[in-house]
């Protein structure tokens, strides 16, 4: 973070330029949506643009391009846990760890379905 007033004065122009760039990227996102790309490609393009915009906000407006190591440390930890959180839904799809599911077959002679389930 800049603490010297002269340094801050130099960055003012940068803040407006980044603001303008963010507006341009927003326009590009909307225009890309009008092209009607295939869904996987559209998701990829939109998320890439959103990531670029987010990085600009974080780096310039939140001054992350020159912060102290404690801030970076806490953010790295956050990113790690965030990625884990995003991948948690995958466990609902591939949750076969330690379980073996057998499809029930037809009941044998003299045995009811309820007994088999027990």
């Amino acid at each position: 973070m800049h603490s010297d007033p002269a340094e801050v004065k130099k960055t003012v122009r940068k803040y407006f330029m980044i603001g303008a760039a963010l507006l341009v990227f927003t326009g590009i996102t909307v225009v890309a949506n009008l092209i009607h790309l295939a869904v996987p490609l559209a998701i990829t393009v939109a998320l890439i643009i959103a990531t670029i915009k987010g990085s600009m906000v974080a780096a310039v407006f939140m001054h992350l391009n020159h912060e102290k190591k404690w801030i970076y440390g806490s953010l790295i930890l956050t990113v790690v846990f965030f990625v884990v959180l995003l991948f948690v839904p995958l466990l609902t799809i591939s949750d076969t760890f330690g379980t073996h599911i057998n499809a029930p077959g037809p009941p044998t002679h003299g045995e009811s379905g309820a007994e088999r389930r027990d």
Binding site: M1, V12, T26, I49, K53, G54, V57, F81, L85
Partner: protein, 194 residues
């Protein structure tokens, strides 16, 4: 008793306590929104079909422009303080507050249009996650407006008694506000475009 390290930096972290505090708060916010983004992924990947074109892209894009502009005015409110330009600081902070208000008014019209058509959060999975994500984001906007209103009003007195501490407080408010903008940058394409 005075709270230590509100202006001067701690020797061990090299940061004022408030700065580290707001970043840790934002880290918890990342996890809060992360849980909901994760929910969005599981609902969307599990859905047989996902609606397109239910939301007004124009209103969403206008709100994106409003929030980006408010981020610029917020950082300028802080920069003006650093450059000892008090009247500019006031102007930029009030502008940020007004832009936040316009965002909420826009959202109100959007919500009421959906509710009038019976498209509440109960109507579909998409609308449920839409209202949850944008509702929580809207609450964050309200929270930011409350803090800004304090610094425009009674909290502004500190600028005379402890100007450095006041500048730091505006910086922390700005960090929170940019985070709220950052969340919207991802919400807009996910909900309105894809």
């Amino acid at each position: 008793m005075n709270i230590p390290y509100t202006v001067e930096t701690r020797p061990d972290t090299g940061l004022a306590n408030g700065k580290l505090g707001i970043w840790l708060f934002l880290a918890s916010e990342v996890m809060l929104f992360g849980a909901l983004f994760s929910t969005y992924i599981i609902l969307r990947t599990g859905a047989v079909e996902w609606p397109h074109g239910e939301l007004s892209v124009l209103l969403g894009a206008i709100n994106t422009v409003i929030l980006i502009s408010s981020s610029v005015t917020m950082v300028m409110a802080w920069a003006s303080l650093k450059m000892n330009e008090w009247s500019k600081h006031r102007l930029y902070l009030i502008l940020t507050f007004v832009l936040a208000g316009i965002f909420l008014v826009n959202k109100y019209f959007e919500y009421s249009e959906h509710l009038a058509l019976g498209e509440g959060p109960w109507a579909s999975t998409f609308l449920a996650i839409y209202f949850t994500l944008t509702g929580l984001h809207g609450l964050h906007i309200v929270g930011g407006m409350v803090v800004m209103a304090y610094f425009i009003g009674p909290g502004a007195k500190m600028a005379k008694t402890s100007p450095d501490q006041f500048t730091n407080r505006i910086e922390y408010t700005g960090l929170y506000w940019h985070f709220v903008d950052l969340v919207w940058i991802f919400l807009f394409p996910l909900l309105y475009l894809l």
